[in-house]
Amino acid sequence: MPDQLERSLRDALSHRATQLDPDSITRLRAIDYHARRRRLRKLPAIGALGATGVAAAVAAIVALGSSAAPAFAGWQPTPTTPAPGQLAQAVQACGQDLGSPVLTDSRGPYTASIYADSTTSDVCLSGNGVSMSSSSTSPAPASVVAGKIQLNGGGTRDAAGNALTLVDGRAGAGVTAVTIERSDGSSVQATVADGWYLAWWPGAAVATTAEITTASGTSTVAFPSTPALPAPACPSGSHCASGYSFGSSRGGSSGAGPASQSTMSVHRSSGSSSQ
């Protein structure tokens, strides 16, 4: 039997709960928490690449605070050693319930991690007031051919012009290094670990080729063409999408893997919050 205090407590809490401004609920209902997933239907990449039986696509949601810091200050084209506590902060930012990452990539103050299981794979990027996640609704292929990599990735941009581009996927046996050549002529060194690779960079330069290093030498594969998304309608302060997306081949993997789709979301905190 609840005692009198417990009954009073229930009454007080219910009373307090009714004091919420109804506009709060209205505002929260108006948010589209997954708007960009629907945009995937419009991406030319899906149809074109879907014909091969293997397709991936990335769309994006970007939310930037009005006082966002300069985009990705301190980013490095070559992976760096994480600072003390950096990886723990990344785990906290990404959510500990995702388990342990299969790959972690540090570039200056930023940490990008791949979390994967048999059904989905997520990429989470955080640091310096920025957090981003990319979630795939289908699993990455269990493996790719030795010496090859899965080509997958996409990019995003916000109203202020801040953009990032990311490539990631499975790496076949024997792959020791992957260097991504970009459309602006520069290159980015990927992190390669345990059959996965990942590289990302600020800006909208797209990946053009990947130079894959194995014990027997290097080989180069071209990324699929990168169709531009429609010009974004991105009012200041709102969630919006842009950038590009490209589908993947499996880098020479045997057989066609399951089709997959991904979404990417980016949030930049407006202050020194826990991002």
Partner: protein
């Protein structure tokens, strides 16, 4: 067909939001005691749930998963604020002034709300989950990631403080 499947997944999510948003917001409000912060927390919570929805939707209780994320976000935020203020223990959150009803019969409720506002966020979270969300001690422990015994002791301490607050009222009304 990939696209229809994707649509189906997100339709599920829309239904989830429609059915749970209000409860999540009120829970966050009662734990943080701050409407603006509660709104931010629910937004962050739903973004997290949305990006993992393909996995979450297969869970037995997606609402429980969302509630766990929400409460952890609320308590993590409270710890962050405490650190910034240099208050590592015994956090007294900054709150808006509780409504004080002028009617004598509601004075005890106002005292109770005042006392609730002075509890630590964790103590308040325990009471909110137990007496607003109607969770059992075991369910509350699962949300908070602690043992049922810890829930019990936290609830007991919180209720004791509320009793003290009510005892300070000269003539509490019989209804309370």
């Amino acid at each position: 067909m990939v696209q229809p499947e994707l649509y189906g997944v997100m339709d599920d999510f829309d239904q989830f939001v429609a059915g749970n948003l209000e409860l999540l917001l009120r829970t966050a409000y009662l734990i943080t005691w701050d409407a603006g912060e509660a709104e931010d927390l629910v937004q962050e919570c739903l973004f997290k749930v949305a990006r993992r929805w393909a996995r979450v939707r297969r869970m037995a209780q997606p609402r429980a998963y969302a509630r766990r994320i929400l409460v952890n976000l609320a308590l993590d935020g409270a710890r962050g604020r405490a650190r910034r203020r240099g208050e590592l223990d015994g956090v007294s959150v900054v709150t808006d002034e509780p409504t004080r009803d002028l009617l004598v019969g509601l004075e005890a409720r106002a005292e109770l709300l005042d006392a609730l506002a002075r509890l630590t966020p964790r103590q308040r979270a325990v009471l909110v989950l137990r007496y607003f969300n109607d969770l059992t001690e075991a369910q509350t422990a699962e949300v908070l990631g602690c043992s049922p015994g810890t829930v019990k002791s936290n609830a007991s301490r919180g209720l004791a403080r509320l009793r003290e607050a009510l005892a300070s009222i000269p003539n509490p009304t019989p209804e309370l």
